[in-house]
Structure formats: C-alpha cells, structure tokens
Amino acid sequence: MALDSKIPQGPIADKWTNYKNHIDLVNPANKRNIDVIVVGTGLAGGSAAATLAELGYNVKAFCFQDSPRRAHSIAAQGGINAAKNYQGDGDSTYRLFYDTVKGGDYRSREANVYRLAEVSANIIDQCVAQGVPFAREYGGLLDNRSFGGVLVSRTFYAAGQTGQQLLLGAYSAMNRQIGRGKIKMYNRHEMLDVVKVDGKARGIITRNLITGEIERHSAHAVVLGTGGYGNVFFLSTNAMGSNVTAAWKAHKRGAYFANPCYTQIHPTCIPVSGDHQSKLTLMSESLRNDGRIWVPKKMEDVKAIRNKTLKPTEIAEEDRDYYLERRYPAFGNLVPRDVASRAAKERCDAGYGVNATGEAVYLDFASAITRYGKEQATIKGLNLNDAALVKKLGQEVVKNKYGNLFQMYEKIVDEDPYNTPMMIYPAVHYTMGGIWVDYNLMTTVPGLYAIGEANFSDHGANRLGASALMQGLADGYFVLPYTIGDYLSNDIRTGPIPTDTKEFDEAEAEVRKNIDHLINNNGTHSVDYFHKRLGKIMWNKCGMARNAEDLKSAITEISELRAEFWKDVKVPGTANEFNEELAKAGRVADFLELGELFAKDALQREESAGGHFREEYQTSEGEAMRRKEFQYVSAWEYKGEPKDAVLHKEELEYENIQVKERSYK
C-alpha cells in the first residue's frame, strides 16, 4: 500500500483552516449513535476522550492504571510550549514551527508541525479556563521559562509538576463527562488486540486486570493514546507499566510502525546506582535554565573525586570544563537534548565521568544561587557582600522554582543539591517514533487513530523540551475531534457494531492462546530476567551511539532472546485473577519483537539525525551527519517476523523551511 499523508493543499498557514472548512461534519443527533473507543488516558487519550464525549459521541475509555489520573503524562515536569509571545521576545507560530522542525533535525512532517504550533496558544487558554494553576508573576499574569533548542521563553509551567497539573485538567474534563454518562471508564483494563471488520477498526479485546476476564468492546472507531515504548530499554524514565502492547498489536493488524529507532535519550537523569535498579528518574530540562553542566578539566581531579578525597565544590573555576558552554556558545547549557546527551557521553567516554562508574557529569546551581541571591539582596536593600546571606536568599529562589526536583534528588541520592552539584547522566526518556499516521492522525488501518507519543509525526528525530505535553493536548483537544468526525460522517447509518461475529471470535481466540501459553509455560526465569537482558542489548547496541556491526548483532541476539523467552519464561498464578506477572509477560513479549524492528530500522538508516546517531556518519567535529537521501519517514509493514518487515517510505518535503546544517554553536 502506498503511503498517502493526505496533507491539504494551499499555503502552510491556511491548510488547517481550509481543512476544517471543508470536512464533513456529523450532526449532534447522529453523534449519539456513534461509539468511539479511546485507549490510554494520558494527556492525549484523556483530552480526546473528554472532547469526543462533549461533542456527543459515546466514548469508552480504557487504562491499565487504577485511575485515569495516573497515566504517565502525570510525571512530566518542566512545562508546555505555546507560541503566545507573552514575553514579547519575538515568538510566533512560525518560530515555534521552525524551532520544532529544526529541533527534530528535519525529519518531521511540515504540515503537522505547523498545525501543532498554530493550536498551541489555545491550549493555554483552555487549560486556564479548566482551572490549571500555572505559575504566575506578581502582577497576576502567567510566567514563562526557557527550554532547550530555542531562543525565546515560551514555556508555561506549574513548578516541576506541569504534567501533573495538565493531566489533572484533562482528567477533570473526563470526570465531567463520566458524571454525565458520556464516557464509560474502564480502569485496570489492558488492550490486547484490535478487531478489524471489513478492513476497518471496529473494536478491541481487553483483559480485566482484576478478574482476568477477556472482554470484547466494539465501536465505530478506535483511538490509541497509549504512549511510547522507551521501556524496551528496561531502564528508562517511563513508568513501570508503560508499554508498547497496544501499539504493537495495532501494528500486527496492519498499522505501519514509523521510525522506531528515533529515541530520545534525555541528558539530565539521576545516574544508575546498581543492578537492583528498576527505573531511572529524570531531572527536568528546566534545570538547565539555571544549572551549569561541567566535568573537571584535569584527570587527577577526576580520580580524586572518585576516591572521595576531593569535593566538587573544592575545584577552582579555571579547572572546570563547562563543555556545553565551550562547544556551543550560542545555546550553551540549553542545547537540545540529543546534543547535550552526546556531549556528556563524549566527556565520560574520554574518562572524565565523576562517579564510581564513570558515567556522570555535574549539574551545578552555585552560580544561579549567587546570581539570584544578589538580586534579592538588591531588592531588599541588604548587604550584597554578605556571602552567607546571598546564598540563603538565592537558595530560597531556587527552592521556589525547582523545590520538588531537588527534594526528589536528595531522597534518591542522599546528597543535598543546594550545597553540592547534582550528578546526572543521560537516560532513555521518550520515543519520537511510533505508529505512522496521516494528517488526520489516522493509521494505515481505516478507523484506527494514534495520538500523542504513540504516533510519530511531529517531533522528527528529536523532540524539543516541553513539546510532548503540547502535542498530546493538541492532538486530543483540538485536532482529532475534527479529523475523526470527517471519517465518522460515513458511519451515521451503520448502527451498533455487534461483538458476536467471527472477527471478534478470532481475535479473542488468539488472545486466549497467548495467555494460555504464557501461564502454562512453566519455565525457569521470571519476566524481569528477560526484560533486563533485552534492556542491556538495547542500551549497549542501540543506545546513544550505534554502528552497523553492533546493530546486526543486536538483531540476532534479540531474536534469540525472544525464542528463549517463549520457551523458558515462568509466569506464576493463573489467568483468572489479578496477576501482574502475566500482564508483564505479555508486554515483554511485544518489546522483544519491537526491539528487533528498532535495531533493523537503525541499521537501515545510514545517517545520523537527532536521537539516532550512527558512528559511521558524523562530521569531523563529532556532530550528527544527516544525509539528503534519507529525508524520508521509514514506515514498516508487519509481515510475520520483525526481520520480514517491509519498508515503505514517505518522502519529506520542506517548502517553508530551508533544510540546512543544524547548528547550535
């Protein structure tokens, strides 16, 4: 099947408006006869479910957590971008569009990104109207901060809990519709297959995670807002339950999977402390507004620090290498995430890492504390030369801005970041790749949609900070509700979709077969044993730097591990009860397939772009080398085994932005 991105005609600034003016609508009386399934209740799924219900559709929403409020969007820290230009610093829809395309290393679809930038400002209006308590200035207006890869302040925030506040906003909009009976909420339910009838997505099979019951649910359209697949690495900043299963089942039913190798490895996470580690914790990018990243210049200092005979605060300014400020003077500590992560890896590979494992760099707030302290002392008319006072005042300002992050750090590491620099290292955080969608956010399966992190379209090969929240809410509140109506306008006479058909029988039988296999396998090792091994292969061979040889061996190793898993995994308990190991086993089985496709995609893409860095393709200065012949989206079609997946290309055209070398120097 040829890929048709369905981008509307006309100048880029008019496309979305023209599109909305010409699509088919469904009248309110008919919406009452149409059912929509939304899987996932994060920012994308939650906002979509609420808006579709409000428009009049009957929505069934599903999440595996015990409450929709616990979806992993809740953990987003730093902020949400919007081209409001409240700061008057030159922001505009075009500039947000430009920054996002450039930040994505010219691997995203122009029309989708422009639409995202266009609706961004409205998200803030919407959220404020819903009672989201964004940070404000003393005059009562909204405050902004800066994020990486841009030269304006366009990020709205609620301390270090922006995702929480936005998700609670979407959750409250859902609650209103649940209360009215327009959303039927299924918590602790996991989607295990998509059901297609006459080629269209018409339902899903789920497992009730409390009773183990396998259920059939039908609808006229199915929306996946099921997040990313970073947990294929085992260790990531994702929640323990975050998984690829819904997206992968959709892929197996005909949805192409795009750019699986585009993974964001976030530069500022708390380093790994030992083999027992179950997940990694992010320290928000917003910290790079005020934190300076460095390692010692001299190897003897590095050694002394590792032996604990020297403290970082004892190293003189001139003996510190602020390597981001040195290499990228224009953007300094606020270079995009892919650039910052690779630079940290470069220093640590060269031997300058500052913890026992040699995999950590410093993020230091001392200068910011002094700067803020002096500012406060000036405002209050106090003595600027009293160092202790200045430090105290400065620490208060920093506490107001990042208090919860500092507390998280202290609890995990047992060190006080107000008085000693934080230690950080890159970790897997977000996946730009995902299910291929057209301009309507529809996958290659008619009636099956993918929104938020689950799709691929807006962030190219690297996502800018504070843009994930923007995209999730844009898709759910403002884009999907229009585009899905155009599709559903053909379903006003269809009537309810029955579930006692052979298509549902077959899908359910397959789900039961898989579960029976896992539960009766009686192998020797737990699910985590396999998941950890998969994670090690992914991190060592498909991580921050990749090469053909490693990727080839990763493909073989993952495929062997998958065979071993199916032969030797041990799942305790039964299928008809609360059984977390069984749920995990199903998720890891899918990661073991996705992982191989990931490596295959990374091997096929013989260039470096954004989060995908191939050692063979770099400039003499060690920067990513993009290649014109790879200016396309890789969309993979499922053909049985990951190794047999067939590549389809969507060529990317840039008519409104000049493609050039991506420089932050």
């Binding site: 808006t51 409250s172 047992d414 609360f578």
Partner: protein
C-alpha cells in the same frame, strides 16, 4: 542488610488474609523500598511461589499508585515521600518490617497489598471539574489576572496525588484532606468560583456516600501526606460547605 518482612497476603477480596513472614538478605541501602520488594518477588517466582501484589507505576512519587502501610505508617517512616521514594537506608540490618495495605472501609482489598481506591474517582465525578467545553474557544489565558498568592495556594492544593495516605492514616478513615484539596484548588481560582456552591455540596455528599468517616481534627493526615497537603484545605472546605449550605 538482612531483614525480616511481615507481609499481608490476601488472595482476593473474599479471602480472609493473614500476615506471612519472609527473610530477605543482601539489601543495599541505595535500593528503594519497592526495588527491595522486586528482589523478594523475583526470588519467590523462581522458587515457584506467588509474588506479593502491590500497586506501583511511575516510581518517582507523582502518579499516586503506590501505597503500603509500613511499620504502622502510610508510605513508611520517611517524611514527604511516597513508598516508591522511600529508600532502604531508612532501615537497619536485622530490622523486622511490617507491610500492610492501606486499610479503610472505602478502600477494599483487591489482592495482597493492592486496594480499590476508585471511591476517590467517584468523588471527582460528582464535581471535581469546571464545566467549560474543551473547544479552545475560551478567553485569552491572561484576560483574568490571578493574585499570585491564590494561584500558589491553588497549585499547592492541586499537587495532591490521590494516593489515599490521608485516609489510611486517619482513625476515622476520613477523606477530608483529599476532598478539601480539590475543593480548595477550584475555590481559590476565579474560574472555579462560578460553580463553587454546587461543587462542594456534591463532592461532600459523594464522600459521605462512599463510607469515608468524618474529620476530628487529629491532623495525622497532614503529617503522613507525601505531598505536604495542608490542613488549611479542610478548613477552607468547611467554610465553603457552610456557606453553600446556608445558600442552598
């Protein structure tokens, strides 16, 4: 460290349940409490026993999934953290640790340490929202300035993660801190004032219907709350409720 764990095991909602002893060795002080339970579960699975079921997800103290009543305290002995942020350095070699579910009539046990907290969701369905459409056709976000102090207080109330520690810690199993926080967030913002009367009445009604107890001002909830939600929110809810009742 080597530890003895006394853990509540209950096969399902209808089972009677009991405490069971487990030994665990080589626990690193850098492990989180849940990572220690992961190690125990892996050992149990490889021995052919049933692992201990507990709720958890983000493991960074924000999703509110994890619970656990550890040595008689919700989220354990540390302050200002959830169980997933509790580290083993808070314990000593040779310690015996009691691990139980959050107990309350309104939070029935599903399995082992997993409880059903959907009562909290139902309270929110009753009024935990502002009735605006999500069309984006509202007014500009800066059209109504909000006093910074109120905005900050609304934010502080809104940082509640809905974990239920307040209920588990309260001798009356009261949910007043949770409901008070939600009522306060909206009551403090101009956007939320419009429906303030109905909201507080409906949410309190639902809270009572779910079987949560009343508040007798003991303050255990505030002490045990991992997010430091203030008792002031309960006082504010009481004022809102009184005013709404007089109006109604």
């Amino acid at each position: 460290m080597n530890l003895t764990l006394k853990i509540w095991r209950q096969a399902n909602a209808n089972d009677k349940g009991k405490m069971v002893d487990y030994k665990i060795s080589d626990v690193s002080p850098d492990m989180s409490f849940l990572e220690m339970l992961d190690v125990l579960n892996n050992e149990l699975i490889e021995k052919g026993e049933e692992p201990v079921a507990f709720d958890h997800d983000c493991r960074e103290g924000i999703c509110g999934s994890c619970s656990l009543y550890i040595n008689g305290e919700a989220h354990g002995p540390d302050r200002g953290v959830t169980t997933c942020q509790l580290h083993m350095r808070m314990f000593k070699d040779g310690d015996t640790i009691f691990i139980e579910p959050f107990r309350a009539k309104a939070f029935p046990v599903i399995k082992d340490l997993v409880v059903d907290r959907t009562a909290f969701d139902r309270i929110q369905h009753a009024g935990g929202f502002i009735s605006v459409n999500t069309s984006g056709n509202t007014i500009d976000a800066n059209a109504i300035p909000v006093n910074k102090e109120n905005a900050d207080d609304a934010f502080s109330a809104a940082t509640c993660i809905g974990c239920g520690a307040c209920v588990a810690s309260c001798k009356n199993s009261s949910a007043m801190l949770f409901v008070g926080a939600k009522v306060s967030q909206f009551a403090l913002l101009p956007q939320g004032r419009v429906e303030a009367t109905d909201r507080v009445l409906n949410m309190v009604n639902q809270m009572d219907a779910e079987g949560f107890g009343n508040c007798t001002n003991t303050g255990a909830c505030e002490v045990e709350c991992p997010k430091g939600i203030s008792l002031e929110n309960i006082a504010r809810m009481n004022r809102e409720y009184l005013a709404a009742s007089l109006k109604g």
